[in-house]
């Protein structure tokens, strides 16, 4: 199996590895039986853009058990979402990840889907926690 240069770069020198201590969103995708598990930690902050307040991904880190493609997807994904508003981040799909990586072998496409799922799961987790905090006790 031949990986693109970009995949190998991200696999050999992955960016944003680890946990975020005070992450306000944690996403998980995959399971060890399939050989791939991805954890995505996000720290969502608020900023003003064009006169409007928006939520954005201030920091993001990952932990992944998986093949070179799964690791590269995780690393690339963190690079792609960092600094993006939540709305922008939600619009990133697995095709965009594949494209950013300069392509993936067909049988590794599911790794990009896994990345998308981990991102969705992290954002959902953030929103759930936010709702919970807003609910008057």
């Amino acid at each position: 199996m031949l990986y693109s240069k970009k995949v190998m770069q991200h696999f050999l020198k992955p960016k944003n590895i680890g946990k975020i201590k005070n992450a306000n969103g944690i996403g998980k995708a995959g399971n060890p039986n399939c050989g791939d598990v991805m954890y995505l930690y996000i720290k969502v902050g608020k900023r003003k853009r064009k006169g409007r307040e928006e939520e954005y991904i201030k920091d993001v880190k990952f932990e992944t058990l998986g093949c070179a493609a799964a690791i590269a997807v995780s690393s690339m994904l963190t690079e792609m979402v960092k600094g993006k508003s939540l709305e922008e981040a939600k619009r990133i799909d697995n095709q965009a990840i594949v494209k950013a990586l300069g392509g993936l072998p067909k049988e590794k496409f599911h790794c990009s889907v896994l990345g998308k799922e981990a991102l969705d799961s992290a954002i959902k987790d953030y929103e759930r926690k936010k709702r919970k905090n807003q609910t008057p006790s």
Binding site: L12, P32, L65, C67
Partner: protein
């Protein structure tokens, strides 16, 4: 420059220089078709028959019981399909182990389309075929049993002598895929009906294999044509490859005693050191004792095999894995699952296979680099 260390001899081996020299004349100078009547043909025929005799002697069988084919896979296919099709009036039940090479498994599965029944024999946690289960599963209509001599992934040596005895007693034909055993352990094929071998696993060329077929065993050919190889494998003989195969096996035989001891010492060093790691949980896959001298196979907890192999490749080390992520099918190794590994353990497997050109320094380099590679992946994984 990165140092290059090849530790994937179970996948393939480099052609020995002596073998290349032996082959060279048969590409251009002695190019004749062995079926031709003239001196060019006679020359090629002579070289082929000499090679056949040489190999037959090593296996303690007759020369006309050796059939040259195109690969180990072809030998397995000819043995399984060829036997089944020629003997279907005797019965349609075939037994194979759950850790056979895909060539045997898929050839047997194909036969299901023609009314054959394939049953698997389990192995124990050590990766050894359960002989009592085999004995119990042999039925009146069982025609063939196929159990490999040495497993290609975990290196376990199967009790083929005992299995051959049981099959002979029960009047069932016995085939063994000896691709990983040939040239490494002494094989007396006399008690066996069918045995497969391959050239490129023994420092010979790719594109050549052999099937030993006991004289009384009947096979249906898979290739029809000019009737070469006793009518069982039509195709103009690949003289250079046949000569190379025989030369390669001769070298293996000469070095067997020395190499088996030397490589076993290196293998044991690898096993001992890796099982002693305190930074990752490692297990040895396959029996420690009943194992071929050049194979070590591990599962590492919390990391994935394809990533490990690619990372090791960055350090110049070549080995392989049974992880699904290295397979087009995305299924983890059936062998590792058969010995009772959980899928996640199978995904984290690493096979290291040594060979004639593996030095002590190569092993030292592996043992220096492997912890670095594992620690890099440990940093990335959520399973610490």
């Amino acid at each position: 420059m990165t140092r290059k260390v090849y530790l994937d001899y179970a996948a393939t081996t480099p052609l020995a220089k002596e073998v290349l020299e032996a082959m060279k004349p048969y590409f251009s100078e002695k190019f004749g078709n062995a079926s031709s009547l003239h001196r060019f043909g006679i020359e090629a025929r002579g070289a082929i028959e000499k090679s056949r005799e040489k190999i037959a002697r090593m296996l303690n069988v007759k020369a006309n019981e050796i059939i040259f084919v195109g690969s180990g896979t072809e030998a397995d296919n000819l043995a399984i399909k060829g036997f089944a099709l020629a003997n279907r009036q005797k019965g349609k039940h075939i037994l194979i182990s759950s850790i056979e090479h895909k060539a045997v498994i898929n050839a047997a599965k194909w036969l299901k389309n023609y009314g054959f029944e394939i049953e698997f024999i389990n192995v124990d946690r050590d990766g050894i075929v359960k002989v009592d289960e085999l004995e119990a599963k042999i039925r009146k209509d069982t025609i063939l049993v196929s159990i490999m001599t040495v497993n290609n992934e975990i290196g376990t040596i199967q009790p083929i002598k005992e299995i051959a005895r049981i099959c002979n007693e029960k009047g069932v034909a016995f085939h063994t895929d000896a691709v990983q055993a040939l040239g490494k352990i002494k094989i007396d094929a006399k008690e066996i009906c069918l045995l497969s071998g391959s050239g490129h696993k023994v420092y010979g060329p790719k594109g050549i294999g052999l099937l030993y077929k006991r004289q009384d065993i009947r096979l249906e050919p898979l290739l029809h044509g000019g009737g070469q190889e006793f009518g069982l494998r039509s195709s103009t003989e690949n003289t250079a490859a046949i000569v190379g195969f025989a030369k390669a096996l001769e070298l293996c035989e000469n070095e067997m005693e020395k190499e088996s001891k030397r490589q076993a010492v290196l293998r044991d060093k690898i096993i001992e050191e890796i099982l002693g790691y305190d930074f990752i949980k490692a297990r040895l896959n396959g029996s420690k004792q009943r194992r071929i001298f050049n194979n070590a196979n591990f599962s590492f907890y919390g990391i994935e095999g394809e990533a490990l192999v690619l990372l090791l490749d960055e350090y110049g080390i070549a080995c392989s894995t049974g992880s699904a992520c290295s397979e087009k099918t995305l299924e983890p190794s059936h062998v590792l699952l058969a010995i009772g590994l959980k899928p996640q353990e199978a995904h984290g497997s690493l096979r290291i296979s040594l060979g004639r050109y593996t030095s002590k320094e190569d092993v030292d380099y592996l043992l220096e680099v492997l912890p670095k590679a594992i620690k890099r992946l440990k940093k990335i994984t959520p399973y610490k």
